[in-house]
Amino acid sequence: MADHSTPGAHPLAPSDVLLEHADELVGSTTDAHASDGLEPVDGPASGVSEPSAIAFGGDRGRLEITQRAVERIVEITARRHPAVARQSAVLGRGLPKARAVVAGQRVSLHLETAITWPNPLADTATNLRQTITTAVEDLTGLGVDRADITVTAVDASQVSTSTAPGEAVAAKQPVGGPAVVWVGFVGAFALVLAGCVAVREMAVATGLTDGASWLARGFELEPAGWMVPSGIFAAVVGVLLLVVTFKRRRRTHHAVGGQDGLVWLRSADVARLACDSARQVDSVTAVAGRSRRKRVNLTVTTFGEPSRVSTDVTAVVEDRLRTITPVPQTRIAVREE
């Protein structure tokens, strides 16, 4: 990667990182020949077991940057980014997690990380790529050919309000499953059954199973009395099947809060809200309710005056459900204790 410029929101002071985490980078630099008295060499030493970048400085010694050192630099840099959330390895995969491939003086990076809500994924990933690229190039002198960023988790444990929220596009209204899937289930089972019959025919024909062939049997038909009810039954089933096949999906939810179509509530939940509201009315001791899409039926048990309780419950429930669309009609049945 050729761009060595520091991003505007660079969270990292590279020298600080190295000083603070010098112990974590043990093994990243080695003076291989100063301590053992060997002569300095101008080529790679034999027996190098892992990918590393080796700079030969003649008689001044040798600098070897291991793959693990590059990975640690990337991880520590990522951890210091303000939008990155650190995830403990105890509860799952430890994040951020880096992989580096070092080949000569060039390196390829891959970083998996978690970010905090509500930082934009694309902007954060772009900034993070710039940050780790700059850090690796500044601290190691290696050139970064490629830096892949994968945001695998978003942490909502520390929520702050975003400054510039966008505009959400509402999905289609939730509906129930299509009735025709039952036709599909029956058809699929029938196909499997037909396949089993055919395999049985093979078994009979090859002598694997005793018995006679079912498919070789003939039949003889002539007009009979049973054909009238059977014909009517078949025609009725055919018409019902056509109705089921082309039946539209049932609407199962009520819209909450107007026509934006973002928030939806099931009919059963509408009944629960209505019951909760009815319980708050004076003299009411118990409430049971059921709801369909266009109607809420409540059975209210009370020791109070029935007409007053019915009026109060109706008013409270209608007020509670005024924000949902379509507004269900409320029916109250009062039961005196």
């Binding site: 934009p120 994924l121 790529r129 966008g166 509402a170 037909a194 498919l215 025609a235 939806w264």
Partner: protein, 189 residues
Amino acid sequence: MRRGVIALDRVAGTVVALGLLLAGGAMLAWRYGELPSDRITAGPWSAPTTAEWWPWATGAGGVVAILLGLWWLARHLPRRVGGRFALPGGDRSGRLTADAHSAVDAAAQALARTPGIRDGSGQVVADRGQLVAELTCTIEPTADLDTVHSAAVRTAAELATVVALPTIHTRVRLRVARTDKTTPLPRVS
């Protein structure tokens, strides 16, 4: 569920329904003498069942039918959307990818911090040709719907900024808990 399998179900249902209507009409017409034939005789067939190709044909046909039936059944299973998607800004210098399921789930958890919302979860689903970020939240029976709605709209807008995918749609499903778990207000203060 995929739209293709629903279309297949509809085609199968139509064919079977028309077949039943035809068979029913034919039985009635035949019973009342509207068809010319007085008797239908078929088989028994011995030639094909004793032929050399019969076991192979029935065996192969049976296996194909069983596999097709199982495939048809499997296509009815709920479709799981892979949450990993490419972010804009990826180029030769590196790919940028993110898990949309995590972002949507985080949005639901952020929404669950609203008073009156007990918990939330989220995922990306495919629904009738749309890619939908679906947030499912459980609210208390005493929750104020206006407050919940305002918070949901705000969170959906934040999610649109965070994910920034033009193809993604948003839906918030609310479920009402059976019992209220909010801390009751003290009767005496």
